[in-house]
């Protein structure tokens, strides 16, 4: 679910929490494990972008190639995951 949420464009912790319904205290450790297993990677946003928008910089997560492969395998096994958490563009179009 977390991989699908990140893939769907919910690239930071709180957004993943909101989308998956998982509580704080679950999402961040899970994301650390995914990062440790090299399924996702994280990167801090440039401070200048955040400063321009008067907000603190975010830490964004992205799927790695291995993460995408794992997500594809999971989607084949559980097609409902993709429907539960659609990509951000699909939501806007819908």
């Amino acid at each position: 679910m977390i991989l699908q949420a990140i893939h769907a464009g919910h690239g930071y912790g709180f957004s993943v929490m909101e989308m998956t319904g998982l509580p704080s205290g679950t999402v961040y450790p899970a994301m650390r494990r995914l990062e440790r297993d090299e399924l996702i990677r994280s990167q801090w946003e440039k401070p200048s972008i955040a400063e321009a928008e008067l907000r603190p910089p975010r830490k964004y997560y992205k799927l790695t190639r291995a993460g995408k492969a794992t997500l594809d395998a999971s989607q084949k096994r559980y097609p409902l995951i993709a429907k539960l958490i659609p990509a951000a563009e699909e939501v806007e179009q819908g």
Binding site: P23, S24, T26
Partner: protein
């Protein structure tokens, strides 16, 4: 105000995270908090504690615990410190060094002096002491038979009119005091803990049995068969007075420790699995290490509890010992399970293998590796009777990789 509280919560959680990762986690939590809705902020901050707990539990062991020798050295240092502190602090020192009551002593409470004189016990093997008789300044003085402290195995300075002070300064021994108009010399000082009999006074004036005089009921200490439950004293008017004899069991630290260990043995399986996993071959060092670690942890808990609760003046040592032993031995078992059975170093590089959905068909769990190349440890995600953590030994042909 709420913002400060939330920030304080996040900072508190960050303290639980290891120093190298602390700033990174705090920055991420703070950044995320900005986006969290007002009503969800407190639960988000409390969730940070769960994050920190997870990090502690799943992160690498601290450097000083990774090597078995460093681990034992640290535990030995803590044990020595708690032991030294116990002999420095008054309360633990009293418990450790208080004179043990001799076996076969019984106590009789609420006995008149006249009945004590009629007891069918030799006067050399029994002693009478009364309630507080005089007050001299801060001293509540009671009269007692001259041999009372001999029966209790307390040695007295050889003085003519001995006075024993409870909680008195040992430097007072030999000094003279005036008690109810008569001169007395301090023959010994005892701590509160060392006085283990019923009745209380903070000074005992020792006199011959003939000069003992009190109209109040007193106490008797006698050396007799500990199975004696009561004793009868015939009166001149053909009535008989019966007194209950209470054995004065010598409180033995070893017995208390064994009782504590029994309680811990019952509780421990409820808080952690007792299995140490499947390790082919004999690893005697592993068991010696486990025994040494357990012994040191118990010493730390025993004396640490005594030290801590004597400092904060609460009589909760026994509770602290049981809880501390359970927590300590739980840590010993968890630590033992994550060590290489050959070199006893903490295993590293945890990697998740398999998927939760394949639990029933395939193996799913975490693999850890010994950095010295001794082998791999497979820890199942869901422990059960048929799926224990297993050690896979790597032979010397793998040594080139490490």
């Amino acid at each position: 105000m709420n913002e400060r509280l939330h920030l304080a919560l996040l900072r508190g959680a960050a303290l639980l995270v290891r120093a190298p990762e602390r700033e990174e986690w705090l920055a991420e939590w703070r950044a995320e908090l900005w986006y969290v809705g007002r009503t969800q902020r407190t639960s988000f901050c409390l969730g940070a504690f769960r994050d920190a707990y997870w990090l502690r539990r799943n992160g690498p062991a601290p450097v000083y615990l990774q090597s078995p020798w460093h681990c034992l050295a640290l535990l030995a240092t803590l044990a020595a410190l708690s032991l030294c502190l116990a002999f420095q602090l008054p309360l633990p020192r009293d418990i450790l060094l208080s004179p043990q009551l001799p076996t076969g002593l019984v106590s009789i409470t609420g006995i008149p002096l006249e009945d004590y004189r009629q007891l069918p016990v030799a006067t050399s093997r029994s002693a009478f002491y009364g309630p507080v008789r005089f007050r001299e300044g801060n001293l509540n003085v009671a009269l007692a038979s001259r041999n009372l402290f001999d029966l209790l195995n307390v040695s007295l300075a050889p003085v003519a009119n001995p006075l024993v002070l409870i909680n008195g300064d040992a430097r007072l021994i030999g000094s003279s005091l005036s008690v109810a108009g008569r001169a007395a010399q301090v023959a010994a000082t005892l701590s509160n803990r060392a006085w283990q009999l019923p009745g209380s006074a903070n000074a005992w004036l020792l006199v011959d049995d003939q000069t003992l005089a009190t109209e109040s009921l007193g106490y008797v200490v006698a050396q007799m068969n500990p199975s004696t439950t009561n004793i009868s004293v015939p009166h001149s008017n053909s009535s008989v007075a019966r007194f209950i004899c209470v054995p004065l069991a010598a409180p033995k630290l070893l017995v208390a420790f064994l009782v504590m260990m029994m309680a811990v043995t019952l509780v421990l399986p409820a808080v952690t699995t007792m299995s140490l996993g499947e390790y082919p071959g004999r690893h005697a060092r592993r068991w010696i290490f486990l025994a040494a670690k357990s012994a040191l942890v118990l010493v730390i808990v025993l004396f640490g509890s005594l030290d801590l609760f004597s400092l904060i003046a609460l009589h909760l040592e026994a509770h602290a010992m049981i809880v501390g032993s359970v927590i300590g031995l739980r840590w010993v078992l968890i630590d033992q399970r994550r060590r290489c059975p050959v070199c006893l170093r903490v295993l590293t590089n945890p990697t998740t293998i398999g998927e939760p959905s394949r639990t029933l068909l395939e193996w799913y769990g975490t693999e850890l590796i010994c950095t010295k190349g001794h082998g791999l440890l497979h820890v199942p995600e869901m422990r059960n009777s048929y799926s224990e953590q297993r050690w896979l030994r790597l032979d010397s042909s793998w040594s080139g990789l490490f």
